[in-house]
């Protein structure tokens, strides 16, 4: 924002700006395009993330690991908690990116069980990571080394992972551990919500149907959607949510909900009657990934990624966010500093639990027919 556009740029854009269509482009250009995908380390790292998704010191009102990063490298961090939904954030950035403009961010974090992360990579709207600057890359856990949307991890690195399962409020109902129970038990009628993500709810239902959510076919997709639709029609499912199921579940308007592991861990401290479990037939595992959007500073972003892949740093973040860390060695560090957390199955799922989790098919996420059918189930 501080860099005024040069006279030459202004003339060039002015000529283009004569046509009505590029007016939005001209306006966006006024936002400045500093930074640039260049090869030099910048003074400032511009980092967009989800709210409450990094360690935070309530008293000092600081993010300790970000301060440690600045102390170590001299790079200041502008930290933005401006991603509330993959779809909305993508909607905001897609226009400048499609016109080859920078969005003034060096790192953004998007989820792999929605279509937008894969879309960013397919469209070429990301910069390649500089692996030479990320020696800690070796700490990436094996399960995350080769995801379908980025098989060689050229463009993305995991930030945190989480599991999709079923949460219930013990004051209202006994354990709810299968999708069948959630969708069909008359005692839960109208007191159930499901997540609006395509990878979450259809994924869980496929597992319950005995199908494989990591390899979706028309047949398994239709079977899942029909089941969800009939649970909507019967009034069993009250509505579809993002993470706004948390409050009604906590206050007892809901008996049970399809829910994310980390949300429930964070709510447990204020409401011990909340329970969360992977359904007996399995659950979904998803990962939020850091990427460098076009125009972001590759060395600066890579330096930061290397920093958070140090298990000592990762452990500080995990201790606060309580999601599943992708950095091996994190549990060992936490066993000393926070043994309670190090034992939690929600944060460090055992191999037995992990064997029951499945990644959702990333190709199915971008299937236009599925997307439209799913939006219809959601009511729009």
């Amino acid at each position: 924002m501080s860099t005024p556009i040069t006279r030459r740029q202004l003339v060039e854009r002015g000529a283009a700006g004569l046509t009505l269509l590029s007016l939005p482009g001209l306006l966006a250009a006024c936002g400045g395009s500093s930074g640039g995908g260049g090869g030099e380390l910048a003074d400032v790292l511009r980092f967009s993330n989800w709210p409450l998704y990094i360690d935070y010191d309530e008293k000092a009102k600081t993010h300790p690991t970000l301060d440690q990063f600045t102390a170590k490298t001299g790079i200041k961090v502008e930290y933005f908690e401006d991603i509330n939904s993959n779809a909305e954030y993508f909607g905001k950035i897609q226009r400048p990116l499609s016109q080859g403009q920078s969005i003034d961010r060096d790192i953004i974090v998007l989820t792999d069980n929605e279509r937008f992360l894969g879309l960013m990579i397919d469209k070429g709207w990301v910069e390649e990571l500089d692996k030479d600057l990320i020696p800690n890359f070796t700490n990436l856990i094996d399960a995350q080394k080769s995801p379908p949307f980025d098989p060689d991890r050229k463009y993305s690195l995991p930030w945190q992972s989480g599991m999709t399962g079923i949460a219930w409020n013990e004051k209202i109902t006994g354990p709810v551990t299968t999708v069948t129970q959630l969708f069909e038990d008359p005692k839960l009628k109208g007191k159930v919500t499901a997540l609006n993500g395509m990878g979450d709810t259809p994924g869980l239902v496929m597992l319950d149907n005995g199908d494989d959510p990591s390899n979706v076919t028309d047949e398994t997709w239709n079977a899942a959607v029909e089941r969800i639709q009939s649970a909507v029609d019967s009034g069993q499912i009250r509505r579809f949510t993002g993470n706004d199921y948390a409050q009604p579940l906590s206050q007892g308007d809901l008996a049970a909900a399809i829910a994310w592991s980390g949300d429930i861990y964070q709510l447990l401290s204020s409401n011990p009657s909340l329970k969360w479990a992977l359904p007996t037939k399995g659950g979904i595992i998803w990962t939020d990934n850091m990427i460098i959007p076009t125009g972001g500073s590759v060395p600066t972003a890579s330096t930061y990624m290397n920093f958070v892949y140090d298990p000592k740093i990762a452990a500080q973040i995990t201790a606060y966010v309580a999601y599943v860390p992708p950095v091996s060695g994190t549990q060992a560090v936490l066993q000393k500093s926070d043994p309670e957390l190090a034992k939690s199955q929600l944060v460090f799922p055992s191999d037995e639990v992990l064997a029951k989790t499945h990644q959702y098919d990333s190709a199915a996420l971008n299937n236009q027919d599925y997307i439209e059918q799913w939006q219809r189930v959601l009511g729009a």
Partner: protein, 285 residues
Amino acid sequence: MSFLHRHKGLTPYLLLLPGILWLALFFVAPLGFLGYQSLQSGTFDTGYTFDWAFSNYWNAISDYHEQFVRSFVYAGIATILALLVSYPLVYWIAFRAGRWKNVFLILIVAPLFVTYLVRTLAWLNILADEGPVVGFLRDIHVLGPDGRLLATSVAVVAGITYNFLPFMALPVYVSLEQIDARLLEAAEDLYASKRQAFLHVTLPLSAPGIVAGTLLTFIPAAGDFINAQLLGTPRQYMVGNVIQSKFLDVLDYPSAAALSFILMALILVGLLAYARAVGTERLTG
């Protein structure tokens, strides 16, 4: 100065210039772009091309007429409710509140100091299944023991009514406040009863406020999607929810643009019919 002296006729246009430029840049240009987009076809992956795809419009109407109808029904009910609630309220403030007028007006406007989203989220608590409102309605058997308000049309309409109430109340207040009290005295001198004085003097004089309030309430309410999303279920979704999902989730920009244009056109037609029915002089006061 001398330039303006020589071209006196230009002055009004120069005065209009900032406003026209503003509207051209921030209203006409985006609207033109949206119109252009609504006639494109293709997908996000392959890119959209402009080919006069009027089918976007027909498809939007045939697929989503239900949500269009629902939007107008909800907005209509909410507008009427807002009028019924706010008219007696601001009448009392304008004629009876005396020196406390400003305090009460601030109380009406105060909710607007809080973001729209937070206000709507508050209704999640107010209407909660185990909350006081539902509890009371169950006690008096308006709701059955398992009855609820959240996730019903009632909750959505109530949310819309609440959120747009100030936009109804303020214009009505202004028109009531401007009424010359001597006219009411004159009516009484001519042996009008209180009721007749109200019907023949106060009500007609406050009509411009009612018309302005209805428009300010109905138009944004018809395009609202927050209330349906948070307080309703998929069965309560309005056309705003469809547009949001087309834009953000499906990435089908042409359909979203076509839906927006249809909504705009329907509102405009409704507006013209309304203006016809009440007479344009009432619209402008």
